[in-house]
C-alpha cells in the first residue's frame, strides 16, 4: 500500500474539535461584547471621557451585526462538525482505520 493511501486512513480528532472551538469562540465573543464592551463604554460616560466613547447608535449596530455573524458562524461550525463527524464514522468503519491524536506538535 502506498504512503499516500496510508495517510488517507488517518483521522485527526482536531477536525472534530475545531468546529466546537469555532462555535465557542463566536458565542463567547458575542457574550463578551454584550457584557464587557458595552459596560466599558458606559463607564466612559460616567467618567465624562467622550473622546473614545462610542455613541449608542454605533454600539448597538456593532452588537446587532455581531449577533448575526454569530448565528452564521455557529451554523457554519455545526455544518463543519457534522461533515467531519460523518468522515470520522466512515474512517472508524474501515478495517485499518487509524485515529490519531489531535494535539500533536510539529515544527512550524
Amino acid at each position: 500500500m502506498s504512503k499516500q493511501s496510508d495517510q488517507r486512513k488517518v483521522f485527526h480528532y482536531r477536525f472534530l474539535i475545531a468546529p466546537i472551538v469555532l462555535l465557542l469562540f463566536a458565542v463567547g465573543w458575542y457574550r463578551f461584547s454584550v457584557v464587557y464592551i458595552q459596560g466599558a463604554n458606559l463607564q466612559l460616560v460616567d467618567h465624562s471621557n467622550y473622546s473614545v466613547y462610542v455613541p449608542f447608535q454605533q454600539i448597538s449596530a456593532y452588537l446587532q451585526a455581531m449577533r448575526d455573524f454569530t448565528y452564521v458562524t455557529v451554523a457554519l461550525a455545526l455544518i463543519m462538525f457534522l461533515y467531519f463527524l460523518a468522515r470520522f464514522i466512515q474512517f472508524k468503519r474501515m478495517p485499518s482505520a487509524n485515529v490519531a491524536a489531535n494535539l500533536e506538535t510539529s515544527h512550524s
Binding site: L22, F25, N49, V52, V54, Y62, L76, M80, S108
Partner: protein, 422 residues
C-alpha cells in the same frame, strides 16, 4: 466621523460589510499564504520578486480603483482623504521597527493573524507580544510623539487633504485631479509589479521551475532559501508556497482544486480578491467611518484592553493613547474577529490546521520579543502594513511610500541579524 452619510443604509450594514470583508481577507490570505514580510524578505534571501511584485500590483490597483470611484463621482473625495494621517519622523522610525520585529517574529500583521488562526504557536506569542508592545508605546512613547505631532516637530501638523497627493500636486480635489493622480500612482506600480513578476518567472524558467510546479503541502519548489539556526527560511521562518501562476493561465482543474481547498490560491488571484475586499469597505464605509482595511494595528491595543476588562481594568479611563485615541469599539473589531473566523475555517476545511510548536524553543521567545517590536512599531508609525501602507496607497497619500521604503530597511536589517545568528 463625517456627518454626511454617502449612502443611507445605516451602521448595521456598514458593520456587516466590514465583517464580510474581514472573512474574505482571512480566508484569502490563508489560502494564498499572503504575507508582506515574506514578500519583502524573499527579495533579500532568494532574490525572488514574485510576491513583492504582487504587493505593488495590490497597491497600484487599490489606488486606481479608489481613485477611479472618486474621479467619476461615485464617492466624494473627502471620503478618500478624510482619514489621511499626519506625516513625520514616526512613519519612518515606526516602519523600520515594525519591519525588523515582524521579520524576526515570523509574520506581518496580516499573516500573524491568519497563521495564529491556523495553529502557529509562534504567531500566538507574536500577537501577545504586540499587545504588550502597544501598552509600552502608550505609556512610554505616545506622550512625546503626540507632542511632536502637535507642535510640528519633524511632522506635519495636519492630515486629511494636506496629505492628499491630488491636492499637493494640483491644489484641487476635483475629479480630474484625483483621476490623473490615481493614474500617475497606480499605473507605474502595476507595471513595475508585473515586470518584477515576469523577471522572477523567467529566472525560475531558466532554472527549470515552472509556474505549474506541483504543490507539496505548503512548501514551494523554488530555490531553497538560506536557513536560520532553527532550520527555517531566513525571513521569519515563513513557509513559502509554490510559484504562482497568472490568473489567465489557471487551468480548469486548478480552479476546481482551489474551490475544493486542495490547492492554495495563486498570488495574483489572492491580490485581486484582497483588492475587492478593500473596495467593499471603501464604498460601504464612505461617510460613516475609516473606510479602509484595518487589521490589527489598533486592535492589538484593543485586545489587551478587552482582556483586562473582566478583571475590572479599563485602560480607556486613564492610560495615555487608550484614553484619547482608541475608540472602545469600531467596525475594525468586527473585521478582525471575522478575519480570524475566515482563516480558521479555511485552514480547518483544507486540513492545514494543526497546533505547531517550533522544535527550537528560542523561536517562541524571538516570536514574543519580535511581537513587542511589532506593537511598538505599528503604533509609532500610526498604522501597520495594512492600515497604513496599503491603505495610504489607496488614499493617494505619500505616507505609504515612506512606510514601504522604511519597512524594507527593517526587513533587510532583520535578515542580516538572522544570518549573523545562524
Amino acid at each position: 466621523m463625517l456627518e454626511h452619510f454617502v449612502f443611507s443604509y445605516g451602521f448595521v450594514f456598514v458593520y456587516a460589510v466590514f465583517g464580510i470583508a474581514g472573512f474574505i481577507v482571512g480566508w484569502v490570505a490563508q489560502r494564498g499564504n499572503y504575507c508582506f514580510v515574506n514578500a519583502m524578505s524573499a527579495i533579500f534571501t532568494t532574490k525572488s520578486y514574485d510576491r513583492f511584485g504582487a504587493l505593488l500590483i495590490l497597491f497600484g490597483t487599490s489606488a486606481l480603483a479608489t481613485g477611479g470611484l472618486v474621479a467619476f463621482g461615485f464617492i466624494p473625495a473627502v471620503d478618500q482623504y478624510y482619514d489621511n494621517y499626519f506625516s513625520g519622523w514616526y512613519i519612518i522610525v515606526g516602519a523600520l521597527i515594525f519591519g525588523f520585529g515582524a521579520t524576526m517574529a515570523g509574520g506581518c500583521n496580516l499573516s500573524m493573524l491568519y497563521r495564529a488562526a491556523s495553529g502557529y504557536v509562534q504567531n500566538w506569542l507574536e500577537l501577545f507580544g504586540m499587545m504588550l508592545g502597544t501598552l509600552i508605546f502608550a505609556i512610554a512613547i505616545w506622550p512625546t510623539q503626540s507632542f511632536t505631532m502637535t507642535n510640528g516637530i519633524l511632522s506635519t501638523k495636519e492630515g486629511a487633504y494636506i496629505e492628499y497627493l491630488p491636492y499637493d500636486i494640483f491644489h484641487s480635489v476635483a475629479g480630474w485631479s484625483v483621476g490623473i493622480t490615481a493614474l500617475a500612482v497606480g499605473v507605474p506600480l502595476v507595471a513595475i509589479g508585473l515586470y518584477l513578476q515576469a523577471k522572477t518567472r523567467r529566472k525560475w524558467a531558466s532554472l527549470g521551475i515552472g509556474a505549474s510546479a506541483p504543490i507539496v503541502g505548503t512548501t514551494m519548489a523554488t530555490p531553497a532559501p538560506a536557513l536560520n539556526s532553527g532550520g527555517l527560511p531566513i525571513g521569519g521562518g515563513i513557509p513559502m508556497i509554490k510559484p504562482s501562476s497568472f490568473l489567465g493561465r489557471i487551468r480548469t482543474t486548478d480552479i476546481k482544486n482551489m474551490i475544493l481547498l486542495r490547492m492554495p490560491y495563486s498570488v495574483n488571484l489572492s491580490t485581486a480578491l484582497l483588492a475587492i475586499a478593500l473596495l467593499m469597505v471603501f464604498v460601504s464605509g464612505a461617510g460613516y467611518t475609516f473606510n479602509y482595511l484595518v487589521i490589527t494595528s489598533s486592535d492589538g491595543g484593543r485586545f489587551l484592553e478587552y482582556i483586562l476588562m473582566p478583571f475590572g481594568v479599563n485602560l480607556a479611563l486613564g492610560t495615555p493613547w487608550y484614553n484619547n485615541a482608541l475608540a472602545i469599539v469600531d467596525p475594525s473589531v468586527l473585521m478582525v474577529i471575522m478575519l480570524i473566523v475566515g482563516a480558521f475555517t479555511a485552514s480547518t476545511l483544507s486540513g492545514d490546521f494543526k497546533i505547531r510548536v517550533p522544535h527550537e524553543r528560542k523561536r517562541l521567545v524571538i516570536g514574543f520579543l519580535g511581537g513587542i517590536l511589532v506593537g511598538i512599531g505599528v503604533r509609532v508609525a500610526l498604522g501597520c502594513n495594512i492600515g497604513m501602507m496599503w491603505t495610504n496607497f489607496a488614499q493617494l497619500g505619500y505616507d505609504g511610500i515612506l512606510f514601504l521604503v522604511s519597512m524594507l530597511g527593517g526587513v533587510w536589517l532583520a535578515i542580516k541579524v538572522q544570518q549573523h545568528l545562524v
